[in-house]
């Protein structure tokens, strides 16, 4: 087919490629969703059940329960958490103007986890009226507050006059994580057995415990954050030039930064609240996408959501089958895959670290 000259993309314009990639990623995500619904400890008959979803055929009661009450909420949570973590990573990197910023690496997830643990352990001590007011949203709300506070602190500490020091940012993240760890230690010491089990499981990161009840609280928060992300895109592009230059091209920089921090805190807080500490999604996904179609946030954010969701579902499927019939926590899978990838990014980005 001869290219239509009028429609041909301009040299250096990767918009068309980014849009094509979105289509590919939608297909990939669709495949990952089917895989996530069909694969698991209870055997292959669920393929039938998944097919049944589309064809309307009768499926057994057991299959229906596994599908509707275990795998479907787990898959929905995988999609939401994967998208939230990847988009948060992309937004944080844009905000800090640094490809190494990641909610897990610089202590934002730790802040969210801290909030969640405080809620889990101390939640029982709240007066009944207040506890009833929050209900099951207490943990997500506490995680959101924790994530928000650590984002604000991190930004204050590592950014001076519009320039972010990578070293300060990473070190501040270490300090934050250490501080949270210490307080968490105390809380774990105070926790009873049931709480302890929740905490341990949760620290490794998993979406295996997904229920419709948990999703009821986390879904609106994550969707709100994801829906807000596209409005940051143009501002984040301009912010790549620096804060002053972004203002000179007409971006209200302070408002943009506040919105980005809030968006990341919402997404990370509610993800961590339901799935614990799942690392590296926020750094691997945006980095791969920048290599493929460039850093333009108008496409990066959407594509991050799609690839993050697909990647997390695939990692979850691996976590289900690799030691079947047992399961690995997904955080271990993402760390095993993400750790080496992160080292590879470091090798490529050594120049940035010297800034």
């Amino acid at each position: 087919m001869a290219p239509d000259i009028a429609q041909a993309p301009m040299l250096g314009d990767r918009s068309a490629r980014a849009q094509t990639l979105s289509l590919v990623l939608i297909l990939l995500l669709g495949a990952a969703i089917v895989l996530s619904l069909a694969v698991g400890a209870s055997g292959t008959s669920l393929w039938q059940a998944v097919l049944g979803l589309f064809t309307g055929e009768e499926v057994g009661v057991r299959e229906r329960i596994i599908l509707m009450d275990i795998r479907l909420p787990r898959t929905v949570m995988g999609v939401l958490v994967g998208a939230a973590l990847a988009v948060s990573g992309a937004v944080m990197q844009g905000l800090f103007r640094n490809p190494l910023a990641d909610p897990g690496l610089v202590g934002v997830s730790a802040g969210a986890g801290f909030g969640a643990i405080v809620a889990i352990v101390l939640g029982g001590m709240l007066p009944a009226g207040i506890a009833a007011m929050f209900g099951s949203s207490l943990v997500p709300v506490a995680a959101f507050v924790g994530a928000w506070a650590s984002m604000l602190l991190l930004y204050r500490v590592s950014t001076r006059r519009g320039r972010t020091s990578v070293a300060t940012m990473l070190l501040a993240g270490i300090a934050l994580a250490a501080l949270m760890g210490a307080v968490q230690g105390v809380l774990i010491y105070m926790a009873d057995d049931a709480q302890l089990r929740t905490l341990t499981f949760w620290g490794m990161g998993s979406i295996a415990g997904a229920t419709w009840g948990k999703l009821l609280v986390a879904t609106p928060l994550i969707l709100l954050a994801l829906a807000g992300a596209p409005f940051l895109a143009r501002g984040l592009n301009a912010l790549a030039l620096g804060e002053a230059a972004a203002a000179h091209v007409g971006i209200p920089v302070q408002r943009l930064k506040n919105a980005a921090i809030l968006m990341v805190a919402l997404a990370v807080g509610s993800s961590v609240a339901v799935s614990g500490g799942i690392g590296f999604v926020g750094i691997v996904v945006p980095h791969l996408l920048r290599l493929l179609v460039g850093p333009d946030h108008r496409y990066l954010l959407l594509n991050s959501a799609l690839l993050g969701a697909a990647l997390l579902l695939c990692a979850d499927v691996i976590s289900r089958v690799i030691v079947a019939p047992a399961e690995l926590p997904i955080g271990i899978v993402t760390a095993t895959l993400g750790g080496p990838f992160f080292l590879w990014i470091l090798l490529r980005q050594r120049g940035v670290l010297e800034m």
Binding site: L241, A244, V249, R290, G294, P295
Partner: protein, 261 residues
């Protein structure tokens, strides 16, 4: 018209600009010159709203302190000294950042024109991070030009603020960039440039403001400001202003140290 009156800028206890009055008119290239640390970049940063200042600055009748950033962006473009980028943008993508709304069909042509104007046709697909410092500076100029491409819009002049636009460039590209500024002013726009090179200033500026130690020592046409005595005093060395062989003047740093008081 750009008018700044009684501008004071402090960094902590240090007074960088001390009650400066400065003005520039559309249709002219106004150069700000002065030695290192004299406050010329700080004056530029105050004029663009980057630095906090006391006093009043108006651009085309708008007080810039209360103006919306997007209104100012429609009125003037600002070229910083250097712009490192952390992400692998192409040249085209960098220039596109300067454009106000999305990527309308006509804007591709504007990007192409802006790059051609700075002599970077064919660079659209190159990675910004892989360009030389001088090329990056010209990409940024193309971005700023694309932002305020028409020097006059709806009868109101638009403005270019250039902070040492030629310091990273070779002499050929220095002349090219100064000619862009000259043409912008000739077409009715306003240009304010911080300049290091006094000879280029003499060649291209209509107005020169000479700054020393946080004060304006003189602001006038180049012939009245670029004088042996004023320059020697401001730059604390012996400077001679000579007639150029072809036309205009050239300035010769003659000897280190303060000229005789």
């Amino acid at each position: 018209m750009l008018e700044a009156s009684d501008i004071t800028v402090r960094y902590g206890p240090r007074v960088i600009l001390d009650g400066v009055d400065f003005s520039a008119r559309a249709g002219a290239v106004t150069a700000i010159v002065g030695p290192n640390g004299s406050g010329k970049t700080t004056l530029m940063r105050a004029l663009t709203g980057e630095a906090a200042y006391h006093g009043r600055i108006t651009l085309e009748g708008q007080d810039i302190a209360g103006a919306k950033v997007w209104d100012l962006a429609a009125l003037r473009g600002v070229l910083p000294q250097a712009t490192p980028l952390a992400f692998p943008f192409t040249v085209l993508e960098v220039v596109r950042i300067g454009l106000s709304r999305g990527v309308a069909a006509g804007q591709d042509g504007l990007i192409r024109q802006a790059l051609a104007r700075v002599g970077l046709s064919g660079f659209e697909g190159r990675y910004y991070q892989e360009l030389s410092g001088g090329e990056q500076q010209r990409v940024q100029l193309a971005r700023v030009l694309a932002q305020v491409w028409e020097p006059v819009e709806g009868g109101v002049p638009r403005w270019l603020f250039l902070d040492e636009p030629v310091s990273a460039l070779d002499i050929g590209h220095q002349l090219q960039v100064m000619q862009i500024a000259r043409d912008y002013a000739d077409a009715g726009g306003g240009v304010v440039a911080v300049m290091h090179d006094l000879n280029l200033t003499a060649m291209f500026a209509d107005q020169v403001a000479l700054i020393g130690e946080g004060r304006i020592l003189a602001q006038d046409v180049p012939g009245a400001v670029l004088r042996d005595d004023l320059l020697s005093r401001a730059y604390r060395c012996d400077v001679r202003v000579n007639r150029a062989p072809v036309d205009g003047t050239f300035i010769l740093p003659h000897a280190a140290g303060m000229a005789a008081e």
